[in-house]
């Protein structure tokens, strides 16, 4: 059963991260390709705190959330000045910079070798060692984040964010603060990213830069788009589906030594098919 549990735990973590990406990219329309960097900051902060026994798990997660909040606000600020394609590459630059920091700031991140031996999460004095306990923790936090996301979407703030995506000038002309709205969304997306990263660190017990590179950001975007941007359901379906796909594909018998490459190719082909047949995503709003 550990296999299924570890799959579900990982998927639940990616749902939290997907919500973060969906909020920024789908709802507010800030096309960030550096969300994996935020996720990484969350994982490293928790990893560092626990490995060096700075604080316990719960405060470490809170610290991760706070750190990601601040970092995400800072890296989203260029969006206030640079827009569209220009922001995408700016964000891309930020992602590469983050990867360089994760890889080379050996004192804090362990460098390219990563941080091994992150102790498991502990709640109320109990260490969550078993796979089902990890799953319960991840699902619990996922549910909490989903609830927050839902409340947000239906609140006036959610409406304001969607309006910002549609037309910033009109929002400003209605007497609403565009800057504050965006900063708030970036902060919230940062908190989600921090919680997800923190869970990832304790679940894998190992943090290294390979999970937080540009491919990681692209994976998050893909999850959101395949699931369906701008909706809660989409952010849940996307990660569960895209993490299951490679697993299902390993069940497909391919009788050559190039099997793994063939499966990755098949994964690419499925992505194309999803986009051609359902461009709005499986649970997305009809565009």
């Amino acid at each position: 059963m550990d296999y299924f549990y570890s799959y579900a735990t990982l998927a639940a973590i990616y749902v939290v991260l997907g919500l973060s990406t969906n909020l920024l990219v789908g709802i507010v329309g800030i096309f960030s390709v550096s969300q994996a960097a935020i996720f990484g900051v969350g994982a490293y902060v928790t990893g560092y705190c626990l490995v060096n026994e700075v604080v316990g798990f719960v405060p470490a997660m809170l610290l991760s959330a706070l750190a990601c909040l601040l970092v995400n606000v800072v890296v989203t600020l260029p969006a206030l000045r640079v827009s569209g394609d220009y922001f995408v590459v700016t964000s891309f630059g930020i992602q590469l910079l983050a990867t360089a920091v994760f890889t080379n700031w050996t004192g804090a991140t362990g460098g390219a070798s990563g941080l091994p031996g992150v102790p498991p999460a502990s709640l109320l004095g109990t260490e969550l060692v078993e796979a089902w306990q990890n799953l319960a923790l991840a699902l619990g936090l996922m549910a909490l984040c989903c609830l927050l996301f839902h409340l947000l979407l239906r609140s006036p703030y959610g409406r304001l964010l969607r309006a910002v995506r549609e037309d910033e000038l009109a929002v400003a002309a209605s007497g609403k603060g565009v800057l504050r709205a965006k900063v708030g969304a970036a902060a919230l997306a940062g908190v989600f990213g921090g919680v997800g990263g923190s869970l990832y660190a304790v679940f894998l017990s190992f943090v290294d830069p390979s999970s937080f590179d540009l491919n990681g950001s692209v994976l998050l975007l893909t999850m959101v788009v395949v699931g369906g941007a701008r909706t809660l359901l989409g952010s849940v379906i996307g990660p569960f589906l895209l993490l299951a796909l490679p697993q299902v594909l390993t069940m497909v018998e391919i009788p050559t030594t190039a099997a793994a490459a063939a499966r990755q190719g098949l994964y690419g082909a499925l992505l194309i098919a999803f986009m051609v047949f359902r461009p709005q995503g499986l649970a997305g709003e009809k565009l």
Partner: protein, 287 residues
């Protein structure tokens, strides 16, 4: 001395990158698709030339054959993937994900056929060296500079002086208007994709000959190229060319003052700051 050597080396690498970027720019400014499959065609061209060498045909024939092959493939990508998606009114993000899917297919197909090992060309003329004032260059490096400048010149002539060039500019500036004036943007898109794919085959073959081939190697090159495209100002071929050279020269020269593991990160930090100062790039087309 070291400065001169690094400078020249950066210029050579920059010329190859420049062809990747301005050909990408051609596609991006016309069709607005973030065409990452471009990286796949770049890699494919190198492998094609390697196969020719294996078959006993001198590898430089690849410079004649592969642009034609890639032109055909590029046109097919437009006809079979981007055009249908556009008809379904897919967003840019959806197009990007579909393009990423196709890139995965191409790269993994290459890995399945050629193995993921690094392949080297064997033709001895490549490694023949020329010494120019203390800087030693190989024959391929010299060819890279010359051919990159030649194809750049030809492309400029083509876009400025021919009917196709006029169409490209008309469609790029306003596809809707082009549609109602019966310029048939669809056909222009196919032509642009064919042209750009033919162009990208040139550095694909040359860099493969110089540094060796690997299936997943094109992605980094393309991403650096897109940064040049956008920092140079979307739609400006000269800007893309110049910025490509500037980026690689900066990366090379940065070694004078800092260890290499930071050079990528610092280069992109400079780039992010630059974007904040000049949010529309260096040579953005007016309007």
């Amino acid at each position: 001395m070291l400065l001169l050597q690094l400078l020249v080396n950066g210029l050579v690498t920059g010329c190859a990158l420049a062809v990747v970027s301005f050909s990408f720019s051609l596609v991006y400014s016309t069709t607005r698709v973030f065409h990452v499959v471009h990286a796949g065609l770049y890699t494919l061209a190198g492998y094609g030339a390697w196969s020719l060498e294996r078959a006993g045909i001198p590898a430089w024939w690849g410079l004649v054959v592969l642009p034609l092959v890639c032109a055909g493939l590029g046109a097919l990508v437009q006809l079979w993937l981007y055009a249908p998606l556009e008809q379904r009114r897919a967003t840019h993000l959806v197009m990007l994900i579909a393009s990423l899917g196709l890139l995965a297919v191409v790269q993994n197909a290459i890995a399945a056929v050629y193995t993921p090992n690094i392949l080297q060309f064997t033709d001895p003329w490549r490694a023949r060296t020329v010494a120019l004032g203390g800087v030693v260059l190989t024959a391929v490096q010299v060819a890279t500079v010359v051919l990159s400048l030649v194809v750049f010149g030809l492309t400029l002539l083509l876009t400025r002086r021919t009917l196709l060039g006029k169409r490209i500019r008309a469609v790029a500036s306003n596809p809707f208007l082009a549609e109602i004036t019966r310029l048939r943007p669809g056909r222009t898109y196919v032509a642009v994709m064919a042209l750009a794919s033919a162009l990208v085959a040139v550095p694909g073959v040359l860099v493969g000959m110089d540094l060796g081939l690997q299936p997943y190697g094109g992605t980094t090159v393309l991403l650096t190229g897109t940064v040049a495209v956008i920092a140079g100002g979307i739609g400006s071929l000269g800007g893309a060319f110049l910025l490509s050279v500037i980026i690689t020269v900066l990366q090379n020269l940065s070694l004078l003052v800092m260890p290499g593991q930071w050079s990528v990160g610092i280069t992109f930090l400079v780039f992010v700051l630059f974007m904040l100062l000049r949010p529309r790039g260096l040579f953005a087309r007016a309007g």
